[in-house]
Each structure stands twice: as structure tokens, then as C-alpha cells.
């Protein structure tokens, strides 16, 4: 289980995360939605210590730390237990698809190269890119690159995979294949925390949808509940803007 309490992150004077409390059960699929600039990416990055939070407590398995006191070892542990999928894929440009997936196993988990490559091949099979093992990122389509990015996160066998808008940089033609892979992972009950604007993905796949605004969790619940009867006016407002043409929202009168 992963748990954060009282998470605060400030940039300059402004609190971009203003006291976030969040617990994620094993196997849970959570989708985070909200307007631009409300701290969704920052939340994910803090869980991974890509940003150093200013206050809060983080629990991942038996790691339980005050984030401001986290040692280098704590940070490495937290990072090894969370995997990140980036909006712009962020594949290692000097490594093939296979090597991108195997890299963490070799360097971080200290597996022998053969074993790591065997595992990477299994993962390539699962993400449908077995034939691209020796291709470098520059020669792959956006969709293929992002699938490798997800494969790299899968290899880490993390407690949770954090997705930060995994389909936002993709040409429309590649969005589907990436969402399908994420759905496949969801069926396998891979714990996931997903920031996305793909509302249909949230509705179909999420166990819980979280609406964030102004650095806080405004409202959360199962997707059918949150989408059909949002309680907070800010949630309603946001959903109206995003979903206006896609679903009808029952506005309580």
C-alpha cells in the first residue's frame, strides 16, 4: 500500500500542493483529473522524489518517512518502488528498446545481463513490440516509444506505476494502442496512478477518480459517481468544460 499524508510542495511562495492525503490500495487504479496547473504532475513527481516535497509523510511498503528528512537511501528506495511513465516518453536515446527495458534491472537491481535481457524480451512480447527489440527510440513511432516507456516501468516491478499524461504528446493515431496497453495492465491489477485527460479511460478503467484543483483534492469517488453526480461546484464546472459534448452530467438543482 502507498500512503501520503499532508503533502506540501511550494514553488517560490505558492503552495502547488497544499496538503494532499492519499492512500492507494494494492491493485487499485486511480485516475487524477483537474485543470492545468493544479499540481497533478507535481503530485506524481513528489511521490517519486523528482521534486523534493516541503512537508508530508510517505509510506510505501515498509518505507515510512517524513519526506523532508528522507535520506538518499530512502529516496532511492522510494524511487525503486515507484515507476514513472513520462508524457514525452523520456526513453534513453542511446539504448535500444530492449536495453531501455533491461537497464534498470541491470543497473539498479544488479541482475546479470542475460537474465535482464530475457525478462526484457518477455516484456517486449507483452507490449507487442517483440520485433522492435533492437530498434533505437529515434526509429520508433510515438506510440511505440510510449509502449517501451511503459515496458520500462513494468520491468521495475514497482508497487505503483505513475503515469503523467501518457497520451498527451501522441499523435491521435497512436493514442489507442497506448490506452489499450494500460487497460491490459489494469486487468492484471497493476497498481496505477494515472494523470490523464482521457475521460473515457477514467470511466472505463478507474476504480477511483480524483479531482484536483489549486493543489488540493477537491473530490473523489468511483467514476460513475463522480462523473454523473459531482458534488463540488468546481468539479461540476471542470467536467462541464471537458465533457460537455461527451456525456450528460446530472446537475443537482
Amino acid at each position: 500500500m502507498i500512503k501520503v499524508t499532508g503533502l506540501v510542495k511550494r514553488f517560490g511562495g505558492t503552495a502547488v500542493l497544499d496538503g494532499i492525503d492519499l492512500a492507494i490500495e494494492q491493485g487499485e487504479i486511480i485516475v487524477v483529473i483537474g485543470p492545468s496547473g493544479t499540481g497533478k504532475s507535481t503530485l506524481l513527481r513528489c511521490l517519486n522524489f523528482l521534486e523534493r516535497p516541503d512537508a508530508g509523510r510517505l509510506t510505501i511498503g515498509d518505507l515510512d518517512v517524513d519526506v523532508t528528512r528522507a535520506s538518499r537511501a530512502d529516496i532511492l528506495t522510494a524511487r525503486r518502488r515507484t515507476a514513472f511513465v513520462f508524457q514525452n516518453y523520456a526513453l534513453f536515446a542511446n539504448k535500444t528498446a530492449l536495453e531501455n527495458i533491461a537497464e534498470g534491472l541491470i543497473v539498479v537491481n544488479r541482475w546479470p545481463k542475460e537474465k535482464a535481457h530475457a525478462r526484457a524480451r518477455e516484456i517486449l512480447e507483452r507490449i507487442g513490440l517483440a520485433d522492435k527489440a533492437d530498434a533505437y527510440p529515434a526509429s520508433l513511432s510515438g506510440g511505440q516509444q510510449q509502449r517501451v516507456g511503459i515496458g520500462r516501468a513494468m520491468a521495475a516491478q514497482a508497487e505503483v506505476i505513475l503515469f503523467d499524461e501518457p497520451t498527451s504528446s501522441l499523435d491521435p493515431e497512436w493514442v489507442e494502442e497506448v490506452l489499450n496497453l494500460m487497460k491490459q495492465l489494469a486487468r492484471e491489477r497493476q497498481t496505477m496512478l494515472v494523470v490523464t485527460h482521457e475521460m473515457s479511460f477514467a470511466r472505463d478503467v478507474a476504480d477511483r477518480v480524483i479531482f484536483m484543483e489549486g493543489g488540493r483534492i477537491v473530490e473523489q469517488g468511483p467514476p460513475d459517481q463522480l462523473f454523473s453526480s459531482p458534488q463540488d461546484p468546481r468539479t461540476r464546472d471542470f467536467l462541464h468544460k471537458v465533457l460537455a459534448t461527451q456525456v450528460t452530467i446530472d446537475t443537482p438543482t
Binding site: L76, A90, G104
Partner: protein
């Protein structure tokens, strides 16, 4: 009087060939040491290591801001007066030292630029899977920075080979020194110096050819 004493020039070739190894050795050793030093300086600059960063800036500023010839004289004639244990410093050592320090200052800046140029998101990706800073540098950043830096570094190597000719001013008999000695007896200045010029020219052209092949190999991963 003939225009050009070709026989003299051809006779000079085997003589100069004997001194070619020394020229190449000074350049190779100087380059190897300069690379190591420059990488260290570049990493200090990139990580902005307190204290060392300021010292590195001063070092780079001095060695880029003063002529190589002055630096060589400083090491060869000046240092032994300052530091007793250096009384035995020979011209070759002083030349290698000068080339190393001088070129490392230039190379550090191009290596730094290449490191900084590596896409920041890959750094985050490496950290996100739990790599340490050292692993990140060695496995992700430096290999990619190398590709960017190699053309510039090869150009510095070429400059360095040509700069070894200054060693003759410290009494080293390398290509240029040998030519000087030969010409002292023959007075055929043009023939002697055009011959040695062609020596340098051929070496540089060979290197440029090698450089092109190396760049093609390094770019393999980035072809679409």
C-alpha cells in the same frame, strides 16, 4: 638554380619519419590526460560543486586567456625555480603538461555543453527507476554527450598535434625541431618547411578521415 630541390625534400622524409613517433606520442599522451582532466572539470561545472567550481572557473579562464607558448615557458623555465623537485623537468614532460592543461581548459567547456545538452527528461527517467547520480552519468549522460562532443574534441586533438611543434622551443627534437636542425646545415628553408608542413597536413587529413567514420558510427542510434 633550380626552383625546388626535390631530391633534398625526398631525402628529408626518412629523417623526419624518425621524429614522427615523438610528435604523435606527445599529442596522444597530452590528449588522453587532457580528456580525463576535462571530464573532471566539466562534471565539477555541471554539478556546481561548491569551492571546486570557482577554482575550475579560474583554471579555465587562465589557460584559455594566456598563450600556449607562454604557458610552456612558464612550466619549463619558471616552475623549476619555484618548485625544487622539478629541477629535472625535461622539455617533453613540460610540453605534455602544457598541452594537457591548455587544451583541457577548452575541452572542459565543450564537454560541459554536451552534458548540459542531454535531454533533461532522460535524466529524470534514469533517476525515477532508482539510478544513482554516478550511474546516470556513466550509462546515460556521458555516452550521449560523447556523441555531441566528439567532433569538437577531434578538432582540439588536431590543434594539439599541430601545437606539439612548439616543443622545439623547449629544445625537444620532434618533427619541427628536427626540421630546424636539418635546415641549419642546408639553408633550404622553403624545401624543409614545406616538407614538414606536408607531414602535419597528411596526419591531420588522416585524422579527419577517421573522424568522419567515427561520427557515422556514433550517430547510428539516432538515425530515423
Amino acid at each position: 638554380m633550380q626552383v625546388l630541390d626535390v631530391d633534398y625534400m625526398l631525402g628529408l622524409v626518412p629523417i623526419l619519419l624518425r621524429y614522427l613517433p615523438l610528435t604523435l606520442q606527445m599529442a596522444a599522451v597530452g590528449m588522453a590526460l587532457a580528456l580525463v582532466l576535462a571530464c573532471g572539470l566539466a562534471v565539477i561545472r555541471v554539478l556546481r560543486i561548491p569551492g571546486l567550481n570557482a577554482a575550475t572557473l579560474l583554471f579555465i579562464s587562465f589557460f584559455r586567456g594566456t598563450p600556449l607558448l607562454v604557458q610552456l615557458f612558464l612550466f619549463y623555465y619558471g616552475l623549476p625555480q619555484l618548485l625544487a623537485f622539478l629541477t629535472q623537468i625535461n622539455g617533453i614532460t613540460a610540453t605534455i603538461m602544457g598541452l594537457t592543461l591548455h587544451f583541457s581548459a577548452y575541452m572542459a567547456e565543450s564537454i560541459r555543453a554536451a552534458i548540459v545538452g542531454v535531454d533533461r527528461s532522460q535524466t529524470e527517467a534514469a533517476l525515477s527507476i532508482g539510478m544513482t547520480n554516478g550511474q546516470l552519468m556513466l550509462r546515460i549522460v556521458l555516452p550521449q554527450a560523447t556523441r555531441v562532443a566528439v567532433p569538437t574534441l577531434m578538432n582540439y586533438f588536431i590543434d594539439m598535434i599541430k601545437a606539439t611543434s612548439l616543443a622545439f622551443t623547449l629544445g625537444v627534437t620532434e618533427l619541427m625541431g628536427a626540421t630546424q636542425k636539418e635546415v641549419a646545415g642546408s639553408f633550404l628553408y622553403f624545401e624543409a618547411f614545406i616538407t614538414v608542413a606536408i607531414f602535419y597536413w597528411v596526419i591531420v587529413e588522416l585524422l579527419a578521415w577517421f573522424q568522419r567514420r567515427l561520427e557515422i558510427r556514433l550517430n547510428e542510434a539516432y538515425r530515423r
